[in-house]
């Protein structure tokens, strides 16, 4: 489903665009003209001509002589031409079908325009091309790239009289000026001028754009572009049968398992597990299937499909059981937010069952993700539920707040390299653990697991993993824990850090000086207890707690055990993905405090010293 997102950026300016807030390296002028004419009562003929001019302002920018343009079947490109202000040879234009993305078969094509020769500061190159669109729904989002200096970006609509062109804007930070001229009944122009680049920020999801605008076309009273949730759902689901029958050859498929399932939820689990485990991930995105799923019977026959194929198959198999499971479109990374919606806002399809707070989301594309849980990339994404009767957009809540990594260590203070650990992995780490067990062997598997777990810890490493037990939602390994660097020995004392986890990315503190939203693409919750046999040592019990929010807290304690020794407990949750407004300051305080905790120590004192 990746191809859906490709409409977003019609022109990628330069192979390695510079994104910065300093003096610009290039000045870019872009002109797009949409030619819209009626083709019957409700359909339209649409094409655009695009012109891009780039003027080189710095010496170091003059090696950016290559430009790429992407094409899908629904925005085919023709008439590419390029020129310079007289000093360069004509550009070479090459094209290549995509071989690198996750779509095995697709019509996605990239044109590359390369200007040969030496470009000097002050010189200008330009290129132009035409795109044809099969309908208004395929019109792109207008996007102002956060790149050097956009001197002007003008989008002109040549349209029939009676048609209106409106815009829904999204500005990731401050709005930028624009002008709309609709004085001519057959011509509407929107112009952005003098847009400078904004500094790149860590943990900010919109570094690539300064603004985005959704095009809203109306012909008289009638909506031409399907912008509302209802219009979009009607348009999208209208391209395939919302309630297809499954071929008779599959009448017996899952019959026995489904007969044993007592509730609708159990039946859905059976279907979900069948699809995620048995349908291979291969994306055939030829033509319309760039965003329209294949017929479920075909997917069953092939035994493969992509996310939308799988979601459609699950919904269809559930419907055969009389259960309403809806498909939902989402993006696994934040997209510009509009009042309505647009095809380019989505790159993934999952399923939803039920309504209101009891609604369950599940993702049959993720082979190792158990029913009732979701892969991290889906959580807190905006999803459009494709229920033709009641389409709605909402945010996918986290299915649980249980720690993804939960470790119990037993160790003796005299043999700290030989601690024994029980490591329970849940959520994404559980899925990675399952995959490692299935796809890796020997030292390769050991390296993977050891590195994956050790990554989350300061000065504790884990080795020699063997599976201890497994449930539907967790896997537990036995491993060796090396605490020899974690427990710091001096002549009379042992110091043990109050913060063993790498819970927070320190880079987020760079966001203290702005007020824009903060975004974390991964969340983490971890828990650990260390039962430390420490003969000859004594310590006072103590504890520390930061935050009370289940999604954002840290707690640690050290207490003496009745049988001797000490139990050190650590429990942290950093489960916030989107942080904005008033939540920013306490969030950054939490991060700052947690990072500083690394030097806070529990102290065990030798009784003899």
């Amino acid at each position: 489903m990746k191809a859906l997102a490709l409409l977003m950026v019609a022109v990628s300016l330069a192979v390695v665009p510079s994104l910065h807030a300093g003096a610009p390296d290039v000045a870019i002028e872009m002109n797009t003209t949409f030619h819209i004419s009626r083709n019957g009562d409700t359909t339209y003929r649409i094409y655009s001509t695009d012109e891009v001019r780039q003027t080189y302002l710095s010496k170091r920018s003059t090696n950016r002589n290559s430009f790429s343009i992407s094409e899908q079947f629904y925005n085919t490109i023709s008439d590419i031409d390029g020129s310079s202000d007289g000093h360069l040879d004509d550009p070479t234009i090459t094209s290549e079908y995509d071989q690198g993305s996750d779509a095995f078969i697709s019509d996605f094509k990239t044109y590359t325009i390369t200007f040969p020769g030496t470009i000097d500061t002050g010189q200008t190159i330009s290129f132009e091309y035409r795109r044809d669109y099969p309908g208004a729904a395929y019109l792109p989002i207008i996007s102002i790239p956060n790149i050097d200096y956009v001197k002007s970006y003008s989008v002109t609509f040549l349209h029939p009289e009676g048609m209106s062109v409106g815009f829904d804007f999204f500005f990731p930070d401050d709005s930028i000026p624009y002008a709309i001229d609709s004085s001519d009944p057959e011509r509407t122009v929107i112009t952005f001028s003098d847009v400078h680049a904004r500094q790149q920020l860590p943990h900010f999801p919109y570094n690539g754009i300064r603004a985005a605008a959704q095009i809203i076309l109306r012909d008289g009273e009638r909506a031409v572009t399907p912008n509302t949730f209802a219009d979009f759902t009607r348009w999208y689901t209208g391209m395939f049968n919302h309630a297809p029958s499954i071929a008779p050859a599959y009448d017996t498929l899952l019959r026995r398992d489904l007969a044993q399932a007592r509730t609708d939820i159990e039946k859905i689990r059976v279907i979900h597990d069948f699809v995620r485990k048995n349908i291979r991930y291969i994306a055939d995105e030829e033509a319309l299937h760039a965003f329209v799923p294949h017929d479920p019977s075909m997917v069953l026959a092939r035994g493969y499909g992509d996310c939308k194929d799988r979601a459609y198959l699950v919904a269809s198999l559930a419907r055969r059981e009389g259960i309403d499971v809806e498909m939902g479109l989402l993006s696994t990374s934040p997209e510009p937010h509009f009042a309505g919606t647009h095809l380019s806002q989505f790159n993934h399809v999952i399923c939803a069952y039920g309504s209101g707070p009891k609604r369950i989301f599940f993702d049959p594309t993720h082979k190792y993700c158990e029913f009732g849980n979701l892969p991290e990339c889906d959580i807190e994404s905006e999803i459009l539920i494709l229920d033709p009767k009641r389409p709605e957009r909402l945010v996918i809540p986290a299915p649980n707040t249980t720690p993804s990594i939960d470790i119990a260590i037993r160790a003796n203070i005299d043999s700290l390299k030989q601690g024994s650990a029980l490591i329970t992995l849940r959520n994404d780490l559980f899925h990675y653990g399952l995959e490692a067990g299935e796809k890796r062997t020997g030292v390769d598997q050991e390296n993977f697991l050891s590195n994956m777990v050790t990554t989350y810890f300061n000065k504790i490493s884990f080795d020699y993993f063997t599976v201890d037990s497994r449930t539907d939602s967790s896997i537990t390994f036995r491993a060796t824990a090396d605490l020899s660097e974690f427990v710091i020995a001096t002549s009379g004392k042992r110091y043990i850090s109050q913060m063993p986890f790498r819970l927070v990315d320190p880079e987020v503190l760079e966001r203290a000086s702005d007020n824009l939203p903060i975004y974390n693409d991964t969340r983490m919750a971890a828990a650990m207890t260390i039962d430390l046999d420490a003969p000859g040592f004594t310590a006072d019990s103590s504890s520390l707690s930061i935050g009370t929010d289940p999604n954002l807290h840290y707690r640690t304690s050290a207490v003496g055990l009745p049988a001797g020794g000490y139990r050190l407990s650590y429990d942290g949750a950093h489960l916030a993905k989107h942080i904005a407004g008033d939540d920013r300051a306490p969030y950054l305080d939490f991060c700052r405090t947690v990072l500083k905790l690394k030097k806070s120590m529990y102290v065990l004192t030798n009784k003899d010293s």
């Binding site: 291969i282 796809k439 001096t490």
Partner: protein, 650 residues
């Protein structure tokens, strides 16, 4: 006249018919369902034997056949392959799809794919089922995703192609016979006109692929046949040679004796157009050279100026050799061979002796000096000679420094294509010295009474490390550079405050790139009333990078280290006079044939000086020496100092 013209196609068709079909000895016989069914296997056995692999090739039968057209002067070339394999991991897309790219001019004649599932069900596909795309460069790609693949499914792919007769694929077939998965039965056949000569390349000293030849007088053909069973997979392992340095393969060249090249000297005739191109002597080129080298005070400086000019101003493109060097300069683009020829000419214009060399890459396996073939020489470069020193340059790689040689080319042979003297010499490319890959870091740490640390970190980068970092920095503006500096910091797990930084020799490619950063860290030092704990946070680690265990018992590949690697780390820690270092630090040294690792510690009042040194030598060794390699590259070094403890005197 019109009627006569109409007759011509008819006449041509009759002539073709009378010639008959080309005489082929190796017939393309697509698999029959029955024969595939006969190949059903015991899945459990395969799962047990080949647990680490995604599949096993049961049969790989490849052939190349050259066919002289009867009564005619031209010939055709056909390539066929039948690949039968069992799928052990149905998620492995490369085993569950057909994905064939063929070069411009080649033609897929037919393809059949048969799929046999463990339950006996079958699927069959043909050429018409393949999705076809053509790139602007002429590559045609055929694709099909196989349905209904399960663990234990057997797939058989068979296809037949016509190859452009004078292409490298036709004249110099190069066929892998060992892969990243095991092969149970491998067959390669080369069917060639009897009067043609055929040379086969050694894949190691005195090691030729075991090709058996048989002549067929009646058909005037010779068939060379290679057959092997139970071919093990080549596993991907750290510190291993390049794939073709350990894998078996067949590389040969064939053709009529009259057009065959028998000496390296005569091979340069293939490049006579380039060799004899003297357009670099034209005034238009000389004028450009004069401008470029104006102000350069030495030949070395002129060399740098010319190489940098070409790298920055001439765009490499995939075109035929047609343009002369002057055209390349004027148009600003050319193929890499022509770019090297232009560079050589420009150096000659600047009175620097220069040679155009075609070099062999270790990635292509062993260099067989008796196998005279351009197929062994794939990397053009320019060698400039100033005094007694030769300098290697790659003028088509943007900003790539002079005399930094990629590891796969170091010590490899090269053929001189153009020189002041008659070409044809085989030369050996230099081996990079340790300086070219040295990381030389120093850290000055000052810890105050409250445990705040001020760090001055100086990183000196040489050779390819400096090259890549310069490339990155050159593309960055101030904001991006600040970000890059933060990413370069050795310690990053805290609220780091970068005070300032300085980059020296950013554009002076002759000198090491030096990056000096001053920053503060607030979460590494714990001050208690009587002791101070300094968690060194990786600053004292003698090596960086991900921890990796090496499989020393099941290792398959010999050990190969391509370049010397040297890490020098000097750390000075100053701390309050009231603190006394109590952590025992003993000098340590360990060395073996792979290299050495050492740490020396000197402490005085309020100061500690640490020097870490790690050297890994360029070398080859048998796999049995893995444990010794581990001693100097191991995942945990005894030189690592995670914590320093100080006693506080009040």
């Amino acid at each position: 006249m019109k009627n006569q013209l109409l007759l011509l196609p008819l006449l041509a068709a009759l002539l073709l018919a009378s010639c008959g079909m080309p005489q082929r000895m190796i017939r393309f016989t697509p698999a029959l369902a029955d024969s595939l069914k006969a190949s059903r296997v015991n899945l459990a056995d395969y799962e047990k034997r080949y647990a680490r692999y995604e599949g096993v090739f049961l049969l790989d039968e490849q052939s190349v056949e050259h066919v002289l057209q009867p009564n005619m002067k031209y010939w055709r070339c056909y390539r066929m392959r039948t690949l039968r394999y069992i799928v052990l991991d149905p998620d492995a897309e490369w085993l569950t799809t057909f994905n064939l790219g063929i070069d411009e001019g080649d033609q897929l004649i037919s393809a059949t794919i048969d799929i046999l599932n463990p339950d006996g069900s079958m699927h069959n596909y043909g050429t018409e089922d393949l999705k076809k795309t053509v790139s602007s460069e002429g590559e045609t790609r055929y694709k099909l995703a196989y349905p209904d693949i399960r663990k234990g499914t057997i797939v058989q792919e068979s296809y037949e192609m016509a190859i452009v007769p004078y292409s490298a694929a036709a004249l110099r077939p190069s066929i892998d016979v060992q892969y990243s998965v095991p092969v149970e039965h491998m067959i390669v056949q080369l069917a060639l006109p009897q009067k043609w000569t055929t040379d086969v390349k050694e894949t190691a000293p005195d090691q030729l692929p075991s090709l058996r030849s048989q002549s067929y007088q009646e058909d005037r053909k010779s068939i060379y046949r290679y057959e092997a069973t139970d071919v093990p997979a080549i596993n991907d392992e750290p510190y291993a040679p390049y794939f073709r340095e350990v894998a078996n393969y067949i590389e040969c060249q064939t053709g009529e004796s009259s057009i065959r090249t028998t000496s390296w000297e005569s091979l340069t005739d293939d490049f006579s157009e380039i060799r004899e191109d003297n357009t670099w002597q034209y005034a238009t080129v000389r004028d450009v050279v004069d401008t470029i080298v104006r102000g350069a005070s030495s030949d070395r400086a002129k060399l740098d100026a010319i190489i940098r000019f070409v790298q920055r101003n001439i765009t490499p493109v995939r075109t035929y050799n047609g343009d002369d060097t002057r055209d390349v300069l004027e148009s600003g683009s050319g193929n890499i061979m022509r770019i090297c020829a232009l560079t050589r000419g420009m150096l000659q214009d600047a009175h620097i002796r220069a040679r155009l060399v075609l070099a062999h890459s270790a990635r292509d396996g062993y260099f067989d000096s008796n196998f005279v073939s351009v197929g062994q020489l794939n990397v053009p470069l320019v060698e400039a000679i100033i005094g007694d020193t030769s300098y290697i340059a790659f003028p088509y790689w943007k900003n790539y420094p002079v005399n930094v040689i990629p590891d796969h080319l170091q010590g490899q042979p090269g053929l001189v294509i153009a020189d002041e003297q008659p070409p044809g010499d085989l030369v050996t490319l230099p081996i990079g010295d340790s300086v070219s890959n040295t990381l030389d870091d120093s850290y000055n740490l000052a810890i105050d009474d409250d445990g705040n640390i001020s760090v001055e970190e100086t990183r000196s980068l040489h050779g390819t490390n400096a090259f890549w970092e310069r490339e990155r920095l050159a593309a960055m503006d101030d904001e991006e550079t600040k970000k890059e500096i933060r990413d370069l910091l050795t310690y990053s797990d805290g609220d780091i405050k970068v005070k300032d930084f300085e980059i020296t020799n950013k554009t002076d490619y002759e000198q090491p790139l030096v990056i000096r950063i001053r920053y503060s860290i607030d979460n590494l030092v714990t001050v208690t009333p009587d002791e101070v704990i300094f968690q060194t946070g990786g600053l004292f680690s003698p090596s960086t990078g991900r921890k990796q265990k090496l499989d020393t018992t099941e290792r398959q590949n010999p050990i190969r280290i391509y370049e010397n690697e040297e890490l020098i780390k000097k750390i000075t820690v100053s701390y309050p006079a009231s603190w006394t270092l109590t952590t025992p630090l003993e000098n340590a040294e360990q060395s073996n044939e792979f290299g050495s690792i050492s740490g020396t510690y000197t402490s005085g009042a309020g100061t500690l000086t640490v020097e870490h040194h790690r050297l890994l030598r360029r070398m080859s060794a048998p796999k049995e020496k893995s444990n010794e390699l581990l001693a100097v590259t191991g995942r945990k070094s005894r030189l690592n100092i995670p914590t320093l403890v100080f006693k506080v005197t009040r």
